[in-house]
Symmetry: C2
Subunit: 224 residues, 2 copies
């Protein structure tokens, strides 16, 4: 008590951008996007602000790098030597699942869509569409449309996942509530939504996503 306040001794094990990204990813995955603050990052890493800012530019940098990381893992993990149609579906599903598992990635990709992560996605999808014999003049638009569809759905899905926080029970309750709301709408004013209420309750997000990919591929096939 009478002793002079002691500075905590400086860390001996090296901090690094990788270790920061790793810790940030863990926080994001377990506690969500709002839980990632510089403060919890410093305590988690037993360090100070300056140490973190010495390795990364700012908080955006951390989020962007963590996102690149997740996407890069998907891109290297997906098998590409399947027939192009199969490979395209597998790639789309891989991205969907990754964003479902890390909802913050979805938000990040729609916030900064020019990052290296997206380059890999464009390259893979473009190449696979080329293998599907999409005419060259249509390749750019087709790839753009497909990438946007995949990221768009994944992003929406992620938003729902974030909103529901955790738990499959929540999801069915949420869908049942929404479906009940839809079915109570005036069938004259909202014929489609009213009719679709049942499907809203029963649908599987992953299957619906794939159905959309198939519609897309069918449309692309007509470009031949």
């Amino acid at each position: 008590m009478a002793a002079k306040a002691q500075r905590t001794p400086r860390r001996t094990d090296a901090l690094s951008k990788e270790r920061i990204i790793e810790a940030a990813t863990e926080i994001l995955d377990t506690d969500g996007e709002n839980a990632l603050t510089l403060r919890v990052l410093t305590t988690r890493l037993n360090t100070g602000y300056g140490a973190i800012y010495h390795h990364v530019a700012n908080k955006s940098d951390v989020l962007a790098a963590a996102t690149d990381e997740v996407i890069a893992r998907v891109m290297t993990g997906v098998v590409i030597d399947a027939p192009p149609r199969e490979a395209l579906r597998a790639l789309a599903l891989g991205l969907f699942d990754a964003i479902d598992a890390h909802p913050w990635v979805g938000a990040q990709l729609s916030r900064e869509p020019w990052r290296p992560a997206l380059l890999e996605i464009y390259e893979s999808i473009g190449r696979l569409l080329d293998a599907l014999h999409v005419p060259e003049r249509a390749l750019f638009d087709a790839a753009g449309a497909l990438v946007n569809y995949v990221l768009g759905v994944a992003g929406q899905n992620a938003a729902n996942a974030r909103a529901l926080a955790h738990g499959e029970a929540d999801r069915s309750v949420f869908l049942a509530t929404a479906a009940a709301h839809w079915s109570q709408l005036d069938p004259d004013k909202y014929p489609f939504v009213h009719k679709a209420a049942t499907q809203l309750r029963e649908h599987d997000d992953r299957e619906q996503f794939l159905a959309g990919v198939d519609i897309f591929l069918a449309g692309i096939a007509t470009l031949r």
Copy 2:
């Protein structure tokens, strides 16, 4: 100076949720999403925090209501008595343009995709697809896919718009830089992206968006 500090007299003209949303929309449109703070909202409306919180639940509420407002305007503005294919394209383009003009709407829709605004979109698109004779069993998936595509692209576009802040000059500089980057990539590792660099520089976002809608509609036509 010796006088007692005087409270500013209370406002006489009524505050209302509408007036708050209106002011918020102006701030969002002119200065971007980050510029909307409760503080600037109070000064803009010559009022205090409590007055605002008396009319809205919180900041999210303001953003959500402002978004509903913008989308509702698009939905009532679009002509639906055109042939379904034309109407569908017009609707998609209307949404694209609205989100381009109000980029914060794009971010908001992917953050809270269950709002009333989205219900109207689903209803219109579902009904138009029905008019296109999409079989009933495929209607729900097709509508979901199309809505997600439209919002996905619009959202990405909005992200770019936000990143570029303002000005057409910025956009072409940005695209030229990105295209230069793409074209410098190793053609062996990135054949598609390397080849697509030219189109990246020259493409028109709106046209590419419509090309995607057409691919979609072509795919949907195969469901018949």
